[in-house]
């Protein structure tokens, strides 16, 4: 009891001092952000990007694309987001943006349903909502910017492998898990495409690396042992293609067996530069963000409403049309090769 009060007093001062300091920091940051104005205003080109999480190279790239677009049409760009990719944290940020009265939100959803109500509250307040990379349920947003269709993804991989092996010979597929829905859809479409347009290419095997680096590495080794005449491998998964490239790089098959599929530039850079891999595909996240920003602008200015058949202009990417369910397709997947890989960092 004796010194209780002194402790309390000093504690109170310490806590107050800390708080004052913290709030002061908060205030300092206020001025550069809130050029919001009220929502629903057709001239309010304050567009905020809300990625799945911050500090993620993929979203850094897409948001930079958005920033570039917003700079072109003189809007106000901002990026906010949670440190962890969780839907509840995204909800807090959506609520905040609603309160700030931004003109548009471009968001990559951490959960198709969990952020719906928050997005609809934002839309009720006049905020336009564009999803990109990862969609919500269609009734919770105005437009979804789809990076690529399953058909497009399957076709680009078949085209790449056909080109790399001279349109004839044995190929194999290194997939993720045997029950991965998207992988299996792509594989089926690749088979259809091979039969229709590349009769001299034979798909001899499909193996599964379970999206595990070591398993994919071992399966690549086994594939090459089992099929001595193999001319190419397609791996429609970023884990698989990197593991297969690592195996090829140090094996006798380097330069003899072609490898392509879906990968990210940072994973594949070394293999492209040393010639293990000639070309692979993925979408361009910078274009994805760029298109999302232009879609938000078109919505804010009332040029489109998100109805099927609406069309808008997206800067240097050209004209786009809104498809079924308010989906806008970015286009064919992007092919990365030795000439362009240096321009990307994700």
């Amino acid at each position: 009891m004796l010194f209780q009060n002194k402790t309390g007093r000093a504690g109170a001062f310490a806590a107050l001092a800390v708080t004052v300091a913290l709030v002061a920091t908060g205030c300092a940051a206020t001025d550069d952000g809130g050029d919001g104005g009220s929502g629903g205003d057709s001239g309010n080109l304050a567009i905020t990007f809300l990625p799945k999480n911050l500090g993620n190279a993929y979203f850094d790239t897409s948001d930079k694309g958005g920033e570039k677009a917003i700079g072109e049409f003189d809007g106000t760009y901002a990026e906010v987001g949670p440190a962890e990719a969780s839907p509840d944290a995204q909800v807090s940020y959506i609520n905040t943006l609603t309160q700030q009265g931004v003109g548009g939100i471009a968001i990559s959803a951490n959960d198709p349903k969990a952020i719906c109500d928050a997005l609809n509250e934002a839309r009720d307040a006049g905020v336009k909502v564009v999803t990109f990379d990862s969609d919500t349920n269609p009734e919770c947003r105005d437009i979804f910017i789809n990076q690529a269709t399953a058909e497009g993804i399957a076709k680009v991989q078949v085209d790449l492998i056909a080109e790399q092996i001279g349109d004839e010979g044995e190929i194999a597929i290194l997939s993720a898990t045997a029950n991965a829905t998207n992988q299996n859809e792509w594989i089926e479409l690749m088979k259809t495409e091979l039969e229709a347009s590349h009769p001299n290419i034979e798909l001899v095997d499909t193996v599964y690396g379970d999206d595990d680096d070591q398993t994919s590495f071992d399966k690549t080794a086994a594939l090459l042992q089992t099929h001595p005449n193999l001319k190419g491998i397609v791996s429609p998964t970023t884990v698989g293609i990197a593991a297969a490239a690592r195996y090829l790089q140090t094996s006798e098959f380097k330069g003899k067996v072609a490898l392509t599929g879906l990968g990210t530039p940072n994973q594949m850079r070394d293999y492209v530069e040393d010639g293990t891999v000639t070309a692979f595909a993925l979408w361009n996240p910078a274009d994805l963000g760029y298109l999302a920003a232009y879609a938000a602008k078109a919505l804010i200015e009332g040029e489109i409403t998100g109805e099927e058949g609406d069309s808008f202009e997206a800067g240097e990417l050209g004209d786009y049309e809104v498809g079924e369910d308010g989906v806008v397709l970015l286009g064919d997947p992007y092919t990365f090769n030795a000439e362009n890989i240096a321009e990307f960092d994700f």
């Binding site: 402790t7 913290l22 940051a29 206020t30 807090s92």
Partner: protein, 347 residues
């Protein structure tokens, strides 16, 4: 000034305490400092952060902190006994998945919620069993069950989510009381708060909780059922965490195994900030409520001011460390200054 009258008898000190002006008695306590900080942050934010002053801020804020408020109630009691429960957020995830899968399997939502709460109680009882019967430290046990319960949750539902909940319940979870802007779920919280406050501050059980935190040996010799009390508290954290899990699931309309990941840190941070000693034996529920609100208001104001999430985390971290360090340093100073012959305070 107090040295002159501290002749060794208790009476003058008690007299002196009550002679102090009321504002000093209220403000110059650990809880008083948290209140002062909370009010200061609210005032400064209302004046300087655009859009903070709107009524909707309070609604969003309360909806966001409700799971933390709920779990902080039993967590306060657990920490006052000198123990800790790190598995609470995993129990939130587990109850969310149990609710989701059972409801998807055809069980009415009320029944599924009941089972989810029972599962939470069992999860808490398992913690309590390992801590009180097997005698393992709660830190080690609940780090283990943090991983175990989260693993079960994610394993049961995988990376998918159950979203087909009746609109009545999902609407209720985020509805407001008339035009006040206060979320309906606050009724549940206030009821629980009253129960917990009575139990902690006005019953022999509550006095036992404090006694265990000060010295479990002394408490045991004084007739407190140390093991039984702790066991009950861990069952309570499990049960309330499951309740928070149900609220969480309905508010977002999405049952996921990774729901509320990391929430245990927010709960513990708020409890410690609210003046509960991590070493046990000291704390009060009203301080904890202020601690939860302080972290919530600070986060909300900083987000509105477009401060990035990393900086917000750093600021809450600094606040927490500062609040814990200031108490420890002052305890140390106090121990140094205690002279022979005077009663020595250890907490």
């Amino acid at each position: 000034m107090t040295d002159l009258i501290s002749g060794g008898t208790a009476t003058p000190r008690v007299y002196k305490d009550y002679a102090r002006p009321l504002w000093q008695r209220v403000l110059l306590t650990r809880e008083g400092a948290v209140y002062a900080a909370l009010i200061l942050v609210i005032v400064v934010a209302a004046l300087s952060v655009r859009n903070f002053g709107s009524p909707i801020t309070m609604t969003y804020l309360l909806l966001d902190v409700t799971p933390i408020l709920l779990i902080a109630l039993p967590m306060t009691l657990v920490i006052i006994t000198g123990e800790i429960d790190l598995s609470v957020a995993s129990v939130v995830g587990l109850s969310s998945v149990v609710l989701g899968t059972l409801h998807q399997g055809g069980l009415p939502i009320e029944a599924a919620a009941f089972v989810a709460i029972v599962v939470g109680a069992i999860a808490g009882a398992f913690n309590g069993f390992l801590i009180t019967v097997v005698g393992l430290p709660s830190l080690a046990v609940t780090i283990g069950t943090l991983a175990l319960y989260r693993g079960l949750a994610v394993g049961l539902l995988g990376t998918t989510a159950v979203t087909d909940f009746t609109e009545f319940w999902t609407d209720l979870a985020k509805s407001k009381l008339g035009s006040t802007g206060v979320p309906t779920v606050m009724i549940l919280f206030v009821l629980l708060l009253v129960v917990f406050a009575i139990v902690l501050h006005f019953t022999p059980f509550g006095r036992g909780v404090f006694a265990i935190g000060l010295s479990s040996e002394a408490a045991r010799f004084s007739g407190v059922h140390v093991e039984r009390t702790k066991f009950i508290l861990f069952v309570l954290t499990g049960t309330i965490s499951a309740l928070a899990g149900i609220y969480y699931t309905l508010r977002f309309g999405s049952a996921r195994g990774d729901n509320a990941t990391g929430l245990e840190l927010s709960v513990i941070a708020a409890v410690l900030l609210g003046g509960v000693s991590i070493f046990g034996g000291r704390g009060a529920l009203h301080g904890v409520i202020a601690g939860v609100l302080l972290i919530g208001v600070l986060g909300s104001a900083l987000r509105l001011a477009n401060v990035t999430s990393d900086v917000i985390n750093i600021i809450t971290g600094v606040l927490l460390v500062a609040s814990v360090v200031s108490t420890s340093v002052l305890n140390w100073v106090r121990a140094k200054r205690t002279r022979p012959g005077e009663p020595r305070k250890t907490r």
